[in-house]
């Protein structure tokens, strides 16, 4: 039977020798020993240390390929936001905007483990604070991945919808983003986001090389979203057929760092339940049954110090019934797009983003976002260390055609926004980290 040279007791033994050597070396330096001996001891110690490092690296490398190796990582961030709009809180109403406040934004625990040669498990749990000063716990991802090589892998569970570029790239760790905030279009559901960021179901994905270009693709289907855009349908889906999503990205070999792609998402959204007790004819906007289609196109270029990407989304909601005064076949079309550019200079990355949201006032499916806004952001990211970044960001937001809805802004802000072309300036500072 073959025995490995690298065994815990051997490492322990070498560690023990080192532990003995270090103090004896210190003593040797204090004592009037001949210089040659000290030099030799130092050389021996350096050699020994290098060998221990080698052994440790070898053990780590072997362990990384073993089954059931649990990897635990995490992310967190804390920020300060100052806003030119000061909210007043009406009784019983939580402000969506906070001004001049510190926020413990999110703390994210990420775990994965190899369950077999080609089977891995992943979970991501986020502890997030909300605008009611409460802490919520969300299992953001929980999945098992079956890997059949580069061409195909299958994931089952709760995963990020591969809709567009951002949602499938940055996930929850703010440290991964260059900027502090996300573009409006890709906010998560519980932050009033308008895309179905998470899906519970099954995902097929792969990557194929065609010589001059490389194609990555994914096809997903799952529960989709229900009568409200949050929370996602995590335990049961209210509609059959299920939501489907397809993403296709192409990377030409001739231009390293470039990727262009498209995605399309289709879902059926149930009407609000029967006779909604809150429904008052003509006054309460309810959406009824909907066909939802979200098409997206994106372009990314990340090479050397340059990082730039842009996305455009078109949302179509078609009424499928005449409930609540809606007219079957009527469609709302909404848009969102952004462009971000960053340039890394040493540990600093100045960035700029132009972000546009255009939500129709007839759209009753996004009650908290019936807003059109253009946001100009400039900022800088400073990578203080390998896993800590401090970011500063200034946002200039031009709201227009804002329509008050349920659970939205405090009255004084709504009034100023409804008057049209309200301007809001915010400044944010964030420290974010990964471990």
């Amino acid at each position: 039977m073959h025995h490995s040279l690298i065994t815990p007791w051997r490492i322990g033994l070498i560690g023990g020798v080192l532990a003995l050597l270090v103090p004896s070396l210190a003593t040797a330096e204090d004592a009037p020993a001949p210089g040659d001996d000290v030099g030799k001891l130092k050389a021996d110690l350096a050699e020994l240390k290098e060998r221990v490092d080698d052994l440790t690296a070898a053990v780590d490398a072997k362990a990384s390929n073993a089954d059931s190796t649990l990897v635990i990582r995490g992310f967190g961030d804390i920020k300060f936001v100052g806003s030119s709009i000061t909210p007043t809180t009406s009784p019983g109403q939580a402000p969506r905007y906070t001004a001049d406040s510190f926020s413990e934004d999110a703390f994210d625990i990420f775990m994965n483990a190899r369950l077999g040669q080609n089977i891995t498990f992943l979970s991501e749990t986020a502890f997030e604070s909300n605008n009611s000063n409460q802490l919520g716990v969300d299992v953001e991802r929980l999945l098992i991945k079956y890997d059949f090589g580069d061409d195909l892998n299958i994931q089952v569970g709760r995963f990020h919808t591969s809709i567009g570029y951002w949602n499938d790239t940055y996930h929850h760790g703010e440290w991964l983003n260059t900027a502090i905030s996300k573009p409006f279009a890709v906010n998560f559901e519980d932050s009033g986001g308008i895309i179905p960021a998470h899906l519970v179901g099954i995902s097929f994905a792969g990557l194929r090389n065609f010589g001059d270009f490389e194609v990555d693709w994914s096809f997903q289907f799952g529960n989709g979203r229900g009568p409200t855009s949050d929370p996602p349908e995590i335990y049961y889906g209210s509609q059959v057929p299920k939501a489907t999503n397809f993403n296709l990205g192409v990377r030409p070999q001739a231009i390293p760092g470039l990727k262009i792609g498209v995605s399309a998402y289709f879902d059926h959204i149930s009407p609000e339940e029967g006779t909604d007790p809150n429904y008052i004819a003509g006054t309460t906007p309810l959406h009824g049954g909907l066909h939802e289609t979200i098409v997206n196109a994106y372009g990314v270029y990340k090479h050397g110090p340059i990082e730039t990407f842009a996305e455009i989304y078109q949302f179509t909601h078609e009424r499928t019934d005449n409930l609540y005064g809606n007219e079957e076949g009527m469609k709302d079309k909404d848009f969102a797009y952004y462009w971000q550019f960053g340039y890394k200079i040493g540990h600093w990355t100045p960035f700029f983003r132009y972000d546009v949201l255009q939500i129709s006032q007839d759209n009753n499916y996004f009650p908290t976002y019936r807003d059109s806004a253009r946001t100009y952001s400039v900022g800088v990211r400073w990578d203080v260390s390998s896993y800590n970044a401090i970011k500063l960001q200034f946002n200039h937001i031009r709201h227009s055609s804002y329509l008050p809805g349920p659970n939205t802004l405090p009255t004084n802000i709504e009034n100023s926004l409804v008057s049209g072309n309200a301007i809001e300036n915010t400044i944010s500072v964030q420290t974010s980290f990964a471990f």
Partner: protein, 162 residues
């Protein structure tokens, strides 16, 4: 059977010659960095694009289907410098961020381990699916140097040239 033996012998001769050549050439000028695989690996050449895909973990399987066991150079080493500039277009911190993103996007279970040349050589020698980048002058005959687009360390236009 005889043909196979001859082929194996020829491969060994080429392999030893390439290693010897790399060892001789390296000290003459700027260092070249060799892509090394297990001596039994059927891989003898990779296109530049395929190598970059492997090093970026975009391609995680060899053509035969075996998982690639990627060994990254020790942090702060010359090998890491050359990869950062020629492959990843970033610096050492950017590389850490790259691997963290890959893990977080569930493209891989864990970041590849960093190892000194000595450990990397040992692992490549042991593991049939391993690949590492090592200064050509440090390469031993126990592993195999593969060419990139037909070019070996020391050739003009070789990708991993300092």
């Amino acid at each position: 059977m005889e043909t196979k033996t001859m082929r194996t012998r020829a491969r060994k001769i080429i392999h030893v010659s390439m290693t010897a050549l790399a060892v001789c050439i390296a000290p003459l000028g700027a260092a070249d960095y060799a892509v090394v695989v297990n001596a039994a690996s059927p891989v003898t050449d990779l296109s530049q694009n395929a190598l970059i895909q492997i090093l970026k973990a975009e391609k995680q399987s060899w053509d035969g289907g075996d998982k690639v066991f990627l060994i990254m150079p020790k942090e702060g080493s010359k090998e890491e410098d050359i990869l950062c500039s020629k492959v990843y277009s970033t610096d050492s911190d950017g590389l850490k961020k790259y691997w963290t993103s890959q893990v977080f996007q569930n493209h891989m279970n864990s970041a590849p381990k960093n190892a000194t040349n000595r450990v990397a050589l040992k692992l490549v020698e042991e593991k049939p699916n391993a690949v590492a980048i090592i200064n050509a002058k440090d390469v031993t005959p126990a592993v195999k140097i593969i060419t990139i687009d037909g070019k070996k360390p020391g050739d003009a236009g070789y990708l991993l040239k300092e």
